[in-house]
């Protein structure tokens, strides 16, 4: 008899956990047409799904105070996990922050809500450079949040006044001198793009021969490459483990601080530009609040506050007046016009993604 009681107890415990999974979910659909909203209107609390450490908490507090709603922020580690969550229907969020190519994919999969720009008057603040990106040509579904580039962090003490070139990764005469002290991003698209730039090809090429050639370049660089890594590459650089590191601008700049021994270079052959974008999920339970939030972030002063906090460049032209001069004057954060003309977005290549992944996996091991 006693035994049975414990079993019942155990069963109850399981049941309790199962029930904990069932809370008051939203109605699960964004049936509420965005057209019903007013500028600055709210229709419920906001659930924001973002990268870690990518939003100034004070901005969140200010938004909560001004509009009288609660904001819950959660974090995802990669675009792909975000996609997996959203596509499976398991992401109960209002606003997400996908990168450029992921916006493209999500649009194709009908996962995003078409934004009503009447509700986002601050959209006029956007820099012209960002009003027709290739992944969302008319900005129907997304609004740029922050942007940056992918380039090279270098230890000037060793590399000296080397030219800003992908040769630092791939040229046997240049990089070959730095045996075991070079790191390349462990990302098929980014690494292949670097090699494609170095070869003078389009970073979005789907030509099999060109891709094979790029993979060969990466395979040859294995002799001097210490690691293929997408995390802590700037720590490795600053710790003296490496002297040339392939990585994202903001990460380097945040870590270099005032140290003049290190520099971030954007190679002359061309480099990848990327954006992270605010987008509203088609299933959003409070689309009005979501629009209001997007508008709030696009406000000139709020946009500046964000950039001053993240050290990433702002796509908000009106915000420029409020951004700290030291951020604005840093050519690595805000490159000059000439360099900016030579920046390219990575675009979704459909079936070729498999080819990129396989060629890269083969090349690096």
């Amino acid at each position: 008899m006693r035994l049975r009681r414990t079993k019942v107890l155990a069963g109850l415990l399981v049941l309790a956990v199962a029930l904990a999974a069932c809370g008051d979910g939203g109605d699960g659909a964004g049936d509420a047409a965005a057209a019903d909203c007013e500028v600055g209107g709210v229709d419920g609390d906001l659930a924001l799904y973002n990268w870690s450490d990518y939003m100034d908490p004070e901005l969140i507090e200010a938004f909560e105070e001004e509009f009288g709603v609660t904001v819950t922020e959660d974090f995802y580690p990669s675009n792909e996990e975000l996609f997996a969550r959203v596509e499976a229907g398991g992401a109960q969020y209002d606003v997400i922050v996908p990168s450029d190519y992921m916006v493209d994919i999500m649009i194709q999969e009908d996962l995003l809500l078409a934004m009503d720009f009447d509700l986002i008057p601050n959209a006029v603040n956007l820099d012209d450079d960002f009003t027709s990106p290739p992944y969302d040509p008319d900005l129907e579904f997304s609004v740029p949040y922050q942007w940056g580039t992918t380039g090279l962090g270098v230890d000037l003490g060793v590399v000296g006044d080397a030219e800003a070139s992908w040769a630092l990764l791939f040229d046997a005469d240049v990089a070959g001198e730095l045996t075991g002290r070079v790191s390349i991003l462990d990302d098929p698209r980014e690494a292949m793009a670097a090699a494609l730039f170095w070869l003078g090809y389009d970073p979005n090429s789907t030509d099999e021969d060109q891709l094979e050639e790029a993979a060969d370049v990466i395979a040859a660089s294995r002799d001097w490459t210490a690691a293929f890594t997408s995390d802590q590459y700037s720590d490795l650089l600053l710790g003296g483990e490496t002297v040339v590191a392939h990585g994202y601008s903001g990460n380097f700049l945040d870590n270099f601080g005032d140290d003049e021994n290190y520099a971030y270079l954007i190679p002359d052959e061309g480099a990848v530009i990327w954006t992270d974008n605010l987008a509203i999920l088609a299933t959003s339970a409070s689309p009005c609040t979501a629009h209001t939030f997007v508008d709030f972030i696009l406000d000139a002063e709020n946009g500046a506050q964000l950039t001053n906090w993240t050290f990433y460049a702002s796509p908000n032209a009106a915000a420029t007046a409020f951004i700290d001069p030291e951020v604005l004057e840093n050519p690595a954060i805000y490159p000059d016009e000439e360099t900016r003309d030579n920046l390219f977005f990575l675009e979704d290549t459909g079936d070729a993604e498999i080819l990129f992944t396989d060629l890269f996996t083969r090349a690096k091991s």
Binding site: V17, A18, A21, C22
Partner: protein, 291 residues
């Protein structure tokens, strides 16, 4: 409760003072090995501890000592929320999976019935399956299950602490069962039968004889479950919901921005906290033993 509370019936074979120790020379070698193992286990912890007091935001480069990251930690609501979620999930999943895993272990090692082989195989699968595969399948499963629940019962369920705990229990049951079974194999069943004759009920026999005998296995299994749950990241990030980010998921999200010593500070907090808990439980058990 102490982890190796072996008083009473738990060690009917050897009285406490009669633990037989190996010979001198061997004993020295064993002790030396033990010290080396502890050095190996604690070397990174020592470094992590030291670096949490580093003023520099780059993890591997020392500049000057400061409490900067500890100050930052106590005001960072995102990190503290994540820490709380981690602890809640670890607690729930450890308790439930220890009970279920022990029951599974007993059932498979102690009894014979049809279909046992299949059960046995099923029990090993969660150990074998790659994390990311389990993550994807749990996500797809919960989405389906929620749709079904909504359609049939009108219950609307959401992702959150609940789904994370359910998933952690699913793999932890197997890990607990593996450790518990290693303990049960070879235990003499006649002992329990004898006890059953002495005590009034099977339950009493179980509680007084079997449970103390397998206690070290159960404790080991629970420790394993706790550790796995505290570190799990892929499955968790797939089945988390609004407001239920755990610490590992938060830290993995930092990778693109660079992980700061703030996380070292949080780790130190967790280490100190768990050491204090262990100390408290030791003191408590000592008190209970002396009174």
């Amino acid at each position: 409760m102490s982890l190796t509370d072996t008083s009473g019936a738990s060690r009917p074979l050897v009285a406490d003072d009669s633990v037989i120790r190996p010979k001198r020379g061997v004993e020295r070698l064993l002790a030396g090995n033990a010290w080396l193992v502890f050095a190996f286990l604690y070397l990174p912890i020592l470094l992590l501890f030291v670096l949490s007091f580093n003023d520099n935001r780059v993890v591997g480069v020392w500049t000057e000592p400061s409490l900067r990251w500890y100050r930052a930690m106590i005001t960072d609501s995102a990190v503290l929320g994540a820490l709380r979620n981690s602890i809640v999930v670890a607690f729930i999943s450890t308790v439930v999976s220890t009970i279920l895993g022990t029951a599974a272990g007993l059932s498979l090692e102690r009894f014979r019935y049809r279909g046992q082989r299949t059960y046995d195989g099923l029990l090993y699968l969660p150990v074998i399956i790659p994390d990311v595969t389990m993550a994807v399948m749990m996500l797809l499963f919960f989405v389906q299950a929620f749709d079904l629940l909504g359609a049939m019962l009108g219950v609307s369920a959401t992702f959150g602490i609940g789904t994370i705990s359910l998933s952690h229990i699913a793999f932890n049951i197997s890990f607990v069962a593996v450790v518990v079974r290693a303990r049960i194999v070879g235990l003499d069943p006649s002992l329990e039968e004898a006890a059953a004759d002495l005590y009034a009920s099977r339950w009493q026999a179980f509680r007084r004889v079997t449970l103390p005998l397998i206690a070290p296995g159960v404790a080991g299994g629970a420790l394993l479950a706790l550790t796995l749950s505290l570190d799990e990241v892929v499955i968790t990030s797939f089945v988390a919901g609004p407001g239920s980010t755990t610490l590992p998921v938060y830290v993995f999200g930092l990778v693109r921005r660079g992980v700061t010593p703030l996380i070292n500070a949080v780790s130190v907090l967790m280490l100190v906290g768990s050491m204090l808990l262990v100390l408290a439980s030791l003191l408590l058990s000592r008190q209970r033993n002396t009174t």
